[in-house]
Assembly symmetry: D2
């Protein structure tokens, strides 16, 4: 099958590679000619312009956008005038599902089809395959099945889930038609929300382990410092690289994120190259907004998001307010760092 790919960043380029390896054809376009050239060397069909790109694709066309969420609408505006009724546009990036619903409606007016695909797998997808969550019209999604099957990991070495009935869904191959437009990015959004929560759980736990030696350190003795009652309970120097390694093997909390954490700690247990300013892309925020609209309590996911905000200094003013109140009612002065 032939797919057009717009956006040849890390994700887009690797997806093209995986499709080519599976025997599909790909027409590729990017603002950067060198990105196009690189893939042409790997047997992709390069396009010099958007018009050239569209022309090189057989109708009805299947065009995959792999661009930052913030430029999807601009890309669509450029692309739509060049398309014909029946063509399919796939947004494989990290769009807000609310935008998918709007865009699908806009495209439907022009008899174009829209498919939203949430894609997980990161820089490892070329090798491991991409996990895809798909929203769109059933017939259209079915038509793209060869593409999804090639990009997905397939059942591979992962055991079948006990109790799943014989009538398998493509979920076992690593891709799933979740529902109508927006459903793909909705499921991906919550996926990322969960990701934040899991990451925070490991991070908090490992910090508790790291500080298990606190009883060995000296502490200020003053009214502003809570004394440690039982220093003899905190005398451990734990090797976090080894601890995360052992958890990978047979423990209840083994996971791919743990594998990555173990790799990071094996490289440098102090993580000295990081400052601890943690970015968040939109999915975590949108997940919380969905939870609130649905009146579903999501304190763990929300707290994980807020820890990222705080890591970037966003709590500074509220912290100052707390110090100011303490000064007002008790005359408490702030302690200097390290004091």
């Amino acid at each position: 099958m032939q797919l057009g790919m717009i956006g040849l960043g890390r994700m887009g380029a690797n997806m093209v590679r995986r499709l080519l390896q599976a025997g599909h054809d790909a027409v590729v376009f990017d603002m950067s000619p060198s990105a196009v050239e690189a893939l042409v060397k790997e047997k992709a069909i390069g396009a010099k312009s958007l018009a050239d790109f569209v022309q090189k694709l057989p109708t009805p066309r299947a065009i995959w956008l792999m661009v930052p969420a913030a430029v999807v609408d601009r890309s669509l505006a450029d692309l739509l005038p060049l398309l014909d009724a029946g063509d399919i546009v796939i947004d494989g990036g990290n769009s807000y599902y609310v935008d998918d619903i709007r865009r699908a409606n806009e495209l439907a007016v022009k008899k174009l089809h829209y498919v939203d695909v949430g894609t997980s797998g990161g820089v490892w997808g070329l090798e491991r395959g991409y996990c895809m969550m798909i929203g769109g019209e059933p017939e259209i999604v079915r038509r793209l099945d060869p593409i999804f099957a090639a990009l997905a990991p397939g059942s591979g070495a992962i055991d079948r889930t006990p109790g799943r009935s014989a009538a398998r869904s493509t979920a076992e191959q690593g891709y799933l038609h979740c529902g109508p437009n927006g459903a793909g990015h909705f499921v991906k959004m919550v996926h990322n929300g969960i990701e934040y929560g899991i990451m925070a759980a490991y991070a908090e736990g490992l910090n508790i382990l790291k500080n298990a030696d606190i009883g060995k350190r000296t502490h200020a003795v003053d009214a502003e410092t809570t004394p440690l009652r039982d220093p003899e309970h905190y005398q451990y120097d734990l090797n976090l690289a080894d601890v995360t390694e052992v958890w990978r093997r047979g423990s209840v909390i083994s996971s791919w994120l743990l594998d990555l954490t173990a790799a990071a700690l094996a490289k440098d247990p102090q993580l000295a190259e990081f400052a601890g300013r943690v970015s968040d892309s939109g999915e975590g925020r949108w997940t919380i907004k969905a939870a609130i609209d649905e009146a579903v309590p999501a304190p763990v996911l929300t707290t994980a998001l807020y820890e990222r905000f705080s890591s970037r200094g966003e709590a500074e003013f509220q912290d100052k307010l707390l110090s100011a109140m303490r000064y007002q009612f008790g005359g408490h002065l702030e302690k200097a760092p390290g004091a």
Copy 2:
């Protein structure tokens, strides 16, 4: 009535003053002779040593300790050999109630009485009176009633709570015998836990108000920054000093902590003299431990405590871990501050 006071810091000295103003006698002692002298000028009876102090008090003695929680046991060790059966020792500081239970048992062996008093009121207590939560034997607490009545605010200008029965308790005067030993500090401990939660509620809300102008600011456009979808909804420059002032008057969230917040913001809306490193004394921590022992969910109080830990940089390693994981799975690089 005659009371002995050991510890003439801000709290202890002002309590002596309030007792003297009410016509009581006070024998006072402190490691610092100048602290003793200052109160002698205000008609207190000064003591030169602990032995002198004990001797100057009529038996059965009533001795109030107003020293840091960390030195109570040491003070008791010095004091106990000098006392006689029937004497009363009052710990008016911020002791952990678990220590009260132990100490009361130790004193009982020597036929001494122990009373634990949680005291709220901070630097304002001299003027407003001290709110006291008391634990100890009923007969002993009753004997000290004149002292508590003098230190407490009294009913003053505060309206009677509708629905309270005619048989009043001393609660309406601002002091309360809560239960056996430890009960006073237990109630004070939870009082402070609540205090943390209320402070955090104001601080978080005010930070949301402060950032209501975020739509006016320019933002980085990159994959690591979530774009603000509706900048036109965040165009407000709010005057926080005025906002907190207006809330003092008729709103549902008026409180004494709000009064103090309004005063701090009136002085400097930027709170520039504070760095935002918020100390915590033990009560907030002990409150959470009690909640956990009781299996009572206390997420607001706990979160408020953790915000203080984070304000002091204690989350740094877990934040680094999050960045390290993001780098591992997605090749995400951290953004520099302000970038």
Copy 3:
């Protein structure tokens, strides 16, 4: 000054009463004729229809809407065709500030003015006065000053905040022009978000106090129940009505919400008439959405909101998931209630 009031529920009717008491005139309308009649007996001018209502007001008119947030747009649709350029419409209910921005723009096209007023004070406002947070054009808000001054509490018995400069704002009278349209409801929204947090802080703390007797109770001894290590530390039967009463008097956490809590506990310490299903109106949710848009961490306010969701059973499915996972990895069976 003459004000038209649409919506004579508890809030609207009492606001009319307060205006009449201050010597203002009020034209009143409500879907329920009896609500109109009741106020006519108290010297308000009644209207039989919206047309009648509009006609009875001198131009430029000042019309206050005090209707549920969900019907404001419908009320405006009925009202607008009857108005003349220069008229002012005030929304005093609990609208989402985003709707204010939209409405103000819509009205501006017709040369009408829109003012959004967040009003706090609840059922006590008639007696205590209403705390008002106001958004709109400066000149228009100034024109309504006599109305706001009459509805507000005034400076009353509340002390002046130390440090406030001589150039007073109306904040000290209990009303404040916060900024352009939406600013009033924005500030009120965050006010309510804070309110949720403060309420939760008291509620959690009091539940910890209530369970201070847990060491007296018998506990199941099985692998599914964490044993209480130190039952002797939890032997207190605390009188919550008295505890909340004593905190009203001189403690750091005294507040109006505490006054109300003390009143509720004085009436019935078991609160038997309540089931514990806590509603939330929109402001708490919108506050969190604003925090997320601003990237401001608000874990205490969010957690307080989620506790309300959970109180209504909204966590049931996620709890089932936890039990299902525990069964899967450890064969753990759920315990029956009370077991």
Copy 4:
């Protein structure tokens, strides 16, 4: 090597089986003779009494206790008088590490050695192997290496972590000497704390997915119910069994807990056999106490613990307090369930 095993419940019996399969000898004892008999049929050496058990083991003995945490001290009291200097006692259950420190000191006085082993793997350990976190004297732990090697999963099919140096630790075999006594259970404690957090992250996220159809449902229209602004954004009927299945394959959040969740949902997407009352054993609580002692913020782990408390109805009184306050200030009445 020969090991003595006391406690032949699910965990203990399966560990004996795994040791026998690896060619080790095991002397076994349990209060239940039938549990002993069952293992004797599988070639274990049965003991009729504790004395018999001790006598059948060659000195220096290695004795593994696999009994509920609450009975470890009682078992030790029975066992110690029968032992000889140089014997080793291993606690493989879920003890609080603080008890390990105390017990190790007590045993050292009698020249006995104590080893604490946190064991993860649940009912799957016989097949997958047990992940073990070990605390104790280095020489003693080294002596037990053959036992740990047999119980652990070994490196198996799990990839080596990139970046780990050539000098391998046993962590890659699934067991780790973490440090002195208590270190094993300390690491296991935090492991379980993390487990709670990860479980909660999945559970919250899946509940958000389950309620993605909320826009299809009818809602009460009243002042106590926040209206859903955009019902068209919540029209999805998501198949959670398929969603969790697809996430197992190539997504960032794949994990063993996700495998188990997928299995539970494959069996019954409604999880009807569960009531949602989630137990917690001690480790989650102790993790939070350690975080608080160390002043490390752990809001995600703590919140996950509190969700379990709430699932068992422990928030009821605080919820009633919130309703009571709302009634006091606003006259709000609670809504009936489903209303």
